[in-house]
Protein backbone atom coordinates (compact mmCIF):
# COMPACT_ATOMS: atom_id res chain seq x y z
CA UNK A 1 0.00 0.00 0.00
CA UNK A 2 2.85 2.30 0.83
CA UNK A 3 4.76 3.20 -2.30
CA UNK A 4 8.34 2.51 -1.39
CA UNK A 5 9.49 5.49 -3.43
CA UNK A 6 7.24 7.94 -1.58
CA UNK A 7 9.37 9.74 0.95
CA UNK A 8 6.50 11.68 2.36
CA UNK A 9 3.09 13.04 1.81
CA UNK A 10 1.94 16.10 3.68
CA UNK A 11 -1.24 18.15 3.70
CA UNK A 12 -1.46 21.65 5.04
CA UNK A 13 -3.47 24.85 4.76
CA UNK A 14 -2.77 27.72 2.40
CA UNK A 15 -1.27 29.98 5.04
CA UNK A 16 2.02 31.82 4.78
CA UNK A 17 2.79 30.71 8.33
CA UNK A 18 2.92 27.08 7.11
CA UNK A 19 5.78 27.71 4.70
CA UNK A 20 8.36 27.43 7.45
CA UNK A 21 7.23 23.93 8.27
CA UNK A 22 7.22 23.04 4.60
CA UNK A 23 10.80 24.23 4.19
CA UNK A 24 11.88 22.26 7.22
CA UNK A 25 10.29 19.11 5.86
CA UNK A 26 11.79 19.60 2.42
CA UNK A 27 15.20 20.22 3.94
CA UNK A 28 14.99 16.94 5.80
CA UNK A 29 13.75 15.01 2.81
CA UNK A 30 16.69 16.40 0.84
CA UNK A 31 19.13 15.35 3.54
CA UNK A 32 17.63 11.88 3.57
CA UNK A 33 18.42 11.33 -0.10
CA UNK A 34 21.89 12.80 0.34
CA UNK A 35 21.57 16.11 -1.48
CA UNK A 36 24.40 18.54 -0.81
CA UNK A 37 23.78 21.86 0.94
CA UNK A 38 23.59 23.92 -2.23
CA UNK A 39 21.17 21.61 -4.00
CA UNK A 40 19.09 21.42 -0.85
CA UNK A 41 18.82 25.21 -0.68
CA UNK A 42 17.75 25.27 -4.31
CA UNK A 43 15.10 22.63 -3.77
CA UNK A 44 13.74 24.32 -0.65
CA UNK A 45 13.52 27.69 -2.37
CA UNK A 46 11.80 26.27 -5.45
CA UNK A 47 9.19 24.33 -3.49
CA UNK A 48 8.56 27.37 -1.30
CA UNK A 49 7.96 29.52 -4.39
CA UNK A 50 5.60 26.99 -5.91
CA UNK A 51 3.59 26.88 -2.68
CA UNK A 52 3.54 30.66 -2.46
CA UNK A 53 2.02 30.74 -5.91
CA UNK A 54 -0.72 28.37 -4.82
CA UNK A 55 -1.40 30.46 -1.71
CA UNK A 56 -1.35 33.77 -3.58
CA UNK A 57 -2.74 32.99 -7.00
CA UNK A 58 -4.50 29.63 -6.63
CA UNK A 59 -6.31 30.47 -3.42
CA UNK A 60 -6.00 34.27 -3.58
CA UNK A 61 -4.68 34.33 0.01
CA UNK A 62 -7.73 32.46 1.35
CA UNK A 63 -6.13 30.72 4.35
CA UNK A 64 -8.39 27.66 4.22
CA UNK A 65 -7.31 26.14 0.93
CA UNK A 66 -5.81 22.69 1.00
CA UNK A 67 -2.33 21.97 -0.31
CA UNK A 68 -0.83 18.51 -0.60
CA UNK A 69 2.79 17.76 -1.22
CA UNK A 70 4.22 14.43 -2.24
CA UNK A 71 7.95 13.82 -2.38
CA UNK A 72 9.16 10.72 -4.17
CA UNK A 73 12.63 9.34 -4.51
CA UNK A 74 12.81 7.96 -8.03
CA UNK A 75 15.94 6.49 -9.58
CA UNK A 76 17.98 9.52 -10.54
CA UNK A 77 15.58 12.19 -9.34
CA UNK A 78 13.74 13.68 -6.43
CA UNK A 79 10.19 14.36 -7.57
CA UNK A 80 7.97 16.87 -5.81
CA UNK A 81 4.27 17.09 -6.61
CA UNK A 82 2.04 19.86 -5.32
CA UNK A 83 -1.67 19.47 -5.53
CA UNK A 84 -4.24 22.17 -4.84
CA UNK A 85 -8.03 22.35 -5.06
CA UNK A 86 -8.22 25.84 -6.51
CA UNK A 87 -9.70 26.78 -9.89
CA UNK A 88 -7.85 25.33 -12.86
CA UNK A 89 -4.79 27.30 -13.82
CA UNK A 90 -4.45 28.77 -17.28
CA UNK A 91 -0.92 27.56 -17.91
CA UNK A 92 -0.26 30.31 -20.44
CA UNK A 93 -0.57 32.86 -17.64
CA UNK A 94 2.06 31.14 -15.61
CA UNK A 95 5.21 32.99 -16.43
CA UNK A 96 7.40 35.51 -14.69
CA UNK A 97 7.98 39.07 -15.81
CA UNK A 98 10.86 39.99 -18.07
CA UNK A 99 13.81 40.18 -15.65
CA UNK A 100 15.01 43.44 -17.19
CA UNK A 101 11.70 45.13 -16.45
CA UNK A 102 12.46 45.60 -12.75
CA UNK A 103 9.33 45.80 -10.61
CA UNK A 104 8.10 44.11 -7.45
CA UNK A 105 6.97 40.52 -7.97
CA UNK A 106 6.99 38.30 -11.00
CA UNK A 107 10.03 36.24 -10.04
CA UNK A 108 8.69 32.98 -8.63
CA UNK A 109 8.24 31.01 -11.83
CA UNK A 110 11.65 32.17 -13.04
CA UNK A 111 13.28 31.03 -9.79
CA UNK A 112 11.61 27.62 -9.97
CA UNK A 113 12.72 27.19 -13.58
CA UNK A 114 16.29 28.14 -12.71
CA UNK A 115 16.49 25.94 -9.66
CA UNK A 116 14.79 22.75 -10.81
CA UNK A 117 15.61 20.41 -13.67
CA UNK A 118 12.00 19.96 -14.73
CA UNK A 119 8.79 21.73 -13.75
CA UNK A 120 5.27 22.07 -15.04
CA UNK A 121 1.60 21.27 -14.56
CA UNK A 122 0.48 17.68 -15.07
CA UNK A 123 -2.98 16.62 -16.25
CA UNK A 124 -5.63 18.11 -13.95
CA UNK A 125 -6.27 15.42 -11.32
CA UNK A 126 -9.70 13.83 -10.86
CA UNK A 127 -11.62 15.91 -8.35
CA UNK A 128 -10.41 19.21 -9.78
CA UNK A 129 -7.63 21.54 -8.83
CA UNK A 130 -4.10 21.47 -10.13
CA UNK A 131 -1.12 19.16 -10.00
CA UNK A 132 2.29 20.77 -10.36
CA UNK A 133 5.42 18.67 -10.61
CA UNK A 134 9.06 19.54 -10.13
CA UNK A 135 12.10 17.31 -10.51
CA UNK A 136 15.62 17.65 -9.26
CA UNK A 137 18.07 15.22 -10.80
CA UNK A 138 20.30 13.35 -8.43
CA UNK A 139 23.87 13.28 -9.63
CA UNK A 140 25.79 10.38 -8.20
Amino acid sequence: MCDSEELLFMRFCSRPSRLKLLRCVMRDAATMVGLDAETTDALVLAVNEACMNIIQHGYGMDPDGRIEIRVCHEPGALVVQLRDYAHSVDVHQVRSRDLDDVRPGGLGVHLIGSLMDECGFLEPPPGGGNLYQMKKYLTQ
Binding site: K20, L45, M52, P104, G105, L107, L111
Partner: protein, 110 residues
Protein backbone atom coordinates in the same frame (compact mmCIF):
# COMPACT_ATOMS: atom_id res chain seq x y z
CA UNK B 1 8.21 40.84 15.76
CA UNK B 2 9.07 43.69 13.49
CA UNK B 3 12.48 44.46 12.05
CA UNK B 4 14.54 47.05 13.94
CA UNK B 5 15.53 50.40 12.42
CA UNK B 6 18.50 52.46 13.51
CA UNK B 7 19.68 55.92 12.56
CA UNK B 8 23.27 55.88 11.36
CA UNK B 9 24.60 59.19 10.00
CA UNK B 10 22.32 60.25 7.16
CA UNK B 11 20.71 56.82 6.85
CA UNK B 12 17.90 54.87 8.37
CA UNK B 13 19.26 51.36 8.61
CA UNK B 14 16.66 48.59 8.38
CA UNK B 15 17.94 45.37 9.88
CA UNK B 16 16.33 42.39 8.23
CA UNK B 17 17.03 39.05 9.89
CA UNK B 18 16.00 35.41 9.91
CA UNK B 19 13.60 34.10 7.32
CA UNK B 20 12.07 36.84 5.20
CA UNK B 21 9.33 34.77 3.61
CA UNK B 22 5.71 35.39 2.64
CA UNK B 23 4.74 35.53 6.30
CA UNK B 24 7.34 38.16 7.19
CA UNK B 25 7.82 40.13 3.98
CA UNK B 26 4.76 42.36 4.58
CA UNK B 27 6.54 43.51 7.75
CA UNK B 28 9.79 44.08 5.86
CA UNK B 29 7.93 46.07 3.23
CA UNK B 30 6.21 48.21 5.88
CA UNK B 31 9.43 49.04 7.70
CA UNK B 32 11.28 49.91 4.51
CA UNK B 33 8.49 52.06 3.07
CA UNK B 34 7.92 53.86 6.36
CA UNK B 35 11.58 54.84 6.52
CA UNK B 36 11.60 56.03 2.92
CA UNK B 37 8.40 58.03 3.37
CA UNK B 38 10.17 60.10 6.00
CA UNK B 39 12.23 61.19 3.01
CA UNK B 40 15.24 59.43 4.39
CA UNK B 41 17.82 57.42 2.57
CA UNK B 42 17.68 53.77 3.55
CA UNK B 43 20.24 51.02 3.94
CA UNK B 44 19.06 47.48 4.43
CA UNK B 45 21.43 45.43 6.57
CA UNK B 46 21.05 41.88 5.22
CA UNK B 47 23.88 40.21 7.06
CA UNK B 48 21.54 38.22 9.25
CA UNK B 49 19.07 37.12 6.58
CA UNK B 50 19.00 33.32 6.61
CA UNK B 51 16.35 32.92 3.96
CA UNK B 52 14.56 35.25 1.57
CA UNK B 53 11.94 34.33 -0.99
CA UNK B 54 10.53 36.26 -3.95
CA UNK B 55 8.08 38.13 -1.74
CA UNK B 56 10.96 39.40 0.41
CA UNK B 57 12.82 40.39 -2.72
CA UNK B 58 9.70 42.22 -3.94
CA UNK B 59 9.79 44.38 -0.79
CA UNK B 60 13.32 45.38 -1.67
CA UNK B 61 12.41 46.18 -5.27
CA UNK B 62 9.52 48.33 -4.12
CA UNK B 63 11.81 50.29 -1.80
CA UNK B 64 14.39 50.66 -4.55
CA UNK B 65 11.83 52.08 -6.97
CA UNK B 66 10.28 54.46 -4.47
CA UNK B 67 13.72 55.76 -3.54
CA UNK B 68 14.64 56.32 -7.16
CA UNK B 69 11.53 58.32 -7.97
CA UNK B 70 12.03 60.43 -4.85
CA UNK B 71 15.74 61.02 -5.22
CA UNK B 72 16.66 59.07 -2.12
CA UNK B 73 19.44 56.57 -1.71
CA UNK B 74 18.49 52.92 -1.25
CA UNK B 75 21.19 50.32 -0.79
CA UNK B 76 21.80 46.86 0.60
CA UNK B 77 24.69 46.08 2.91
CA UNK B 78 26.45 42.93 4.09
CA UNK B 79 24.18 40.69 2.06
CA UNK B 80 24.36 37.12 3.40
CA UNK B 81 25.29 34.32 1.04
CA UNK B 82 21.77 32.88 1.21
CA UNK B 83 20.22 36.20 0.18
CA UNK B 84 22.84 36.93 -2.43
CA UNK B 85 22.11 33.65 -4.19
CA UNK B 86 18.48 34.65 -4.62
CA UNK B 87 19.34 38.17 -5.79
CA UNK B 88 21.72 36.67 -8.33
CA UNK B 89 19.10 34.30 -9.68
CA UNK B 90 16.73 37.26 -10.07
CA UNK B 91 19.58 39.25 -11.65
CA UNK B 92 18.98 41.97 -9.07
CA UNK B 93 22.59 41.88 -7.89
CA UNK B 94 23.21 44.11 -10.93
CA UNK B 95 20.34 46.43 -10.04
CA UNK B 96 20.61 47.22 -6.33
CA UNK B 97 23.57 49.16 -4.99
CA UNK B 98 25.23 46.58 -2.73
CA UNK B 99 27.94 47.32 -0.16
CA UNK B 100 30.11 44.77 1.62
CA UNK B 101 29.04 46.24 4.96
CA UNK B 102 27.23 49.19 6.49
CA UNK B 103 30.59 50.68 7.37
CA UNK B 104 31.79 50.43 3.78
CA UNK B 105 29.01 52.82 2.73
CA UNK B 106 29.10 55.06 5.81
CA UNK B 107 32.84 55.65 5.56
CA UNK B 108 32.39 56.81 1.98
CA UNK B 109 30.46 59.83 3.31
CA UNK B 110 27.61 61.79 1.69
Amino acid sequence: MSFPVEKRQGFLVVMLAGEVDLSRSPEARKVIMKALKKMHSVMVDMSRVEYIDSSGVASLVEGFQYARSNNLEFALAGVSEAAMNVLRLARLDQVFPIYASLEARLEAGA
